[in-house]
C-alpha cells in the first residue's frame, strides 16, 4: 500500500536522503493548472489558466492580490494558498504600518518559505500542497520568485509551475533574453504564448480561462479576468508573425 516505509511523515528521512512527504506535496503542485511568470526591467507579469471542475462550476481563482506592489499565482491546493496569501497580506500591511514602506518582495517570499520549512521539521505537520509564483516591485525593481512546498525560494527571469509547465519553460528558455526591454503589453503577450504551450491538444486560451496579473514601475498590481483579457489574447497570434518570428529567428 505504501510506496515505502519512510513516507509516513514529513519529518522522517529516507536512507537515500529524501523526504518523501515533501516530494508528494510537490506532485500536488504539478497537478494544478499552469501559471507563468516573466519579467522585464520595469515590469513583471503573471499569466495563468483557470480550471473549472465541471461544466456547471465556476473557474478556480489563480491569481491573488497581496498589496499594491505584490501579487501571487498558485498551482496546487488552492486552500493552502489562501492561508499563505492571508499571511502575506497581513505582513504587507504590517510593513506599511511599522516602517511606512511596501514589504520587500524577497523578504515576503522568504517568510512563507520559512513557514513551509517548519512543516518539514516538526512531527505531525503536513507540507503545503501548493506552489506559488510571486511577483512584486520594490526599491530593487521588479521581482519574480517561486515558492514551493520544500521551502526553497528561488528568483527567476521567467518561470512556470503547474501541469505541463515544462512546455512553457522550454518556450521561456528560448526567449527570456529578449524580455528585458519588452513593454508591458509585449511581456503579457509573451507570457500568454508560453502559457498556451501548456494546454492540452484542442484546448484554447479564452476570456473564461485566462487570468493576467502585472505590476511594475509606476504600475500598481493589476488583475485582469474575463473580457478584460481579450485585448491581450488577440495579440497572441497577431504578434507571433512579428515578435514571435523575431524571437525564433534569434
Amino acid at each position: 500500500m505504501f510506496r515505502n516505509q519512510y513516507d509516513n511523515d514529513a519529518s522522517t528521512w529516507s536512507p537515500q536522503g529524501r523526504i518523501f512527504q515533501v516530494e508528494y506535496a510537490s506532485e500536488a503542485v504539478k497537478q494544478g493548472s499552469a501559471v507563468v511568470g516573466l519579467r522585464s526591467k520595469d515590469h513583471v507579469v503573471l499569466v495563468a489558466v483557470k480550471r473549472s471542475p465541471n461544466e456547471l462550476a465556476s473557474y478556480q481563482k489563480k491569481i491573488v492580490r497581496i498589496d499594491d506592489h505584490m501579487g501571487i499565482a498558485m498551482a496546487g491546493l488552492t486552500s493552502d494558498a489562501r492561508v499563505l496569501s492571508n499571511y502575506l497580506r497581513t505582513e504587507a500591511m504590517r510593513s506599511k504600518m511599522v516602517y511606512g514602506r511596501p514589504l520587500p518582495v524577497g523578504r515576503a517570499v522568504n517568510m512563507i518559505g520559512d513557514r513551509a520549512q517548519i512543516n518539514t521539521l516538526e512531527y505531525g505537520r503536513r507540507p503545503y500542497g501548493v506552489g506559488l509564483l510571486v511577483i512584486g516591485y520594490d526599491d530593487a525593481g521588479p521581482h519574480l520568485l517561486e515558492f514551493n512546498p520544500s521551502g526553497i525560494v528561488s528568483e527567476y527571469y521567467a518561470y512556470s509551475i503547474g501541469a505541463r509547465s515544462q512546455s512553457a519553460r522550454t518556450n521561456l528558455e528560448r526567449n527570456f533574453e529578449q524580455f528585458q526591454d519588452l513593454s508591458l503589453q509585449e511581456l503579457v503577450t509573451q507570457g500568454l504564448r508560453a502559457l498556451r504551450d501548456t494546454l492540452q491538444q484542442g484546448k484554447q486560451l479564452d476570456t473564461m480561462n485566462t487570468s493576467i496579473g502585472f505590476v511594475g514601475k509606476d504600475t500598481k498590481f493589476t488583475m485582469l479576468d474575463g473580457e478584460a483579457t481579450q485585448q491581450y489574447l488577440d495579440l497572441i497570434d497577431e504578434g507571433a508573425r512579428h515578435a514571435g518570428g523575431r524571437c525564433d529567428g534569434d
Binding site: V98, Y99, P104, G106, R107, D139, A140
Partner: protein, 247 residues
C-alpha cells in the same frame, strides 16, 4: 537626620503604589535634558545642529554629550529632551539597523521608514501614557528627495523645510523662516553654515540651558557627516551697558 533622596530618571523609577488610592503613579518629568535642535533644508540636503550640554535642572551636568546620531547611511537624527530616553531610543534604532543589515538583501531602510518607526514608538508610548520625553528631528535623502521631519512625546509629527525644537522653536525658527523658507533649493553650503551658526549663537545668548560647544551635521547625497565639537565667536561687550537686574 535627614535622609538623602536620590531622584532617578522616570524611566528607571519603580512604579510606586500610592497607599491612599492604590493607583499607579509615574514621575512625569525629564531629568537630564538636552536643549534645542535646529535643522533646515538647503541646496545639497539638510543641515542640523545641537549643542553638547546635558543639563540636570539648571545645573550644567554633562558637557560633551552627543545629541546627533546617524541611522544607516543616509539618515540623521537629532534629539532634545530627556537624554536617558534618547539613549534607550539609540539602542532601539541600533537594533533596527542591525536587523536590517542581517536581512542581507541589498535593501536599506530609507529616511521615511526610520521616521515612521520613531513616530510609532513615540505615539505608542504616549498612548500608554508613559511617554519618551523627547523631540526628534529626522533628516535625510529618501530616493533622492530631501526629507525633514519632527516627532515629539505626543506623537505629533510634521514635515517642514525648517524645524527647531524647544527654545529653538521660539528663537531660531523665526530666523529660519526669514532666511530659508522658499529658498531651500538655492542656499549654498557656505550660507547654510552661516545661518546655522547665527541660530545657534542667538540660542547661546538667550537660552540659559544652552552651551557654546556644539556639533553640526549635514546629510547629502554623500551620506551623513557629523562634525567634531566646535565653538562660536561671541561678543558680550553689550553686557557692560546693561543696567539693572545685576548689571
Amino acid at each position: 537626620m535627614d535622609a538623602i533622596k536620590i531622584q532617578l530618571p522616570h524611566t528607571v523609577q519603580p512604579r510606586a503604589e500610592n497607599a491612599n488610592d492604590g493607583a499607579v503613579s509615574r514621575t512625569m518629568q525629564p531629568i537630564v535634558t538636552g536643549t534645542s535642535v535646529v535643522a533646515f533644508k538647503y541646496k545639497d540636503g539638510i543641515m542640523m545642529a545641537a549643542d553638547t550640554l546635558a543639563s540636570y535642572g539648571s545645573l550644567a551636568r554633562f558637557r560633551s554629550e552627543k545629541r546627533l546620531m546617524a541611522v544607516g547611511d543616509n539618515t540623521l537624527v537629532g534629539v532634545s529632551g530627556d537624554l536617558s530616553d534618547f539613549q534607550y531610543m539609540q539602542h532601539v534604532l541600533e537594533d533596527l539597523e542591525t536587523r536590517e543589515l542581517c536581512m542581507d538583501d541589498d535593501q536599506t531602510l530609507g529616511t521615511k521608514s526610520v521616521y515612521k518607526y520613531i513616530s510609532n514608538i513615540m505615539y505608542n508610548r504616549r498612548t500608554k501614557v508613559d511617554p519618551l520625553w523627547n523631540s526628534y528631528v529626522v533628516a535625510g535623502l529618501d530616493h533622492d528627495e530631501k526629507f525633514l521631519g519632527f516627532v515629539d512625546l505626543y506623537g505629533t509629527r510634521y514635515q517642514s523645510p525648517t524645524i527647531a525644537t524647544g527654545f529653538g522653536a521660539h528663537l531660531a525658527q523665526p530666523i529660519l523662516r526669514k532666511r530659508v523658507e522658499g529658498r531651500e533649493d538655492e542656499i549654498e553650503e557656505e550660507e547654510a553654515l552661516a545661518i546655522l551658526d547665527d541660530c545657534m549663537r542667538v540660542l547661546f545668548y538667550r537660552d540659559a540651558r544652552s552651551f557654546n560647544k556644539l556639533r553640526r551635521a549635514k546629510v547629502t547625497a554623500q551620506g551623513v557627516e557629523i562634525s567634531e565639537p566646535y565653538s562660536l565667536e561671541t561678543n558680550w561687550d553689550f553686557a557692560e551697558s546693561i543696567v539693572g537686574y545685576g548689571g
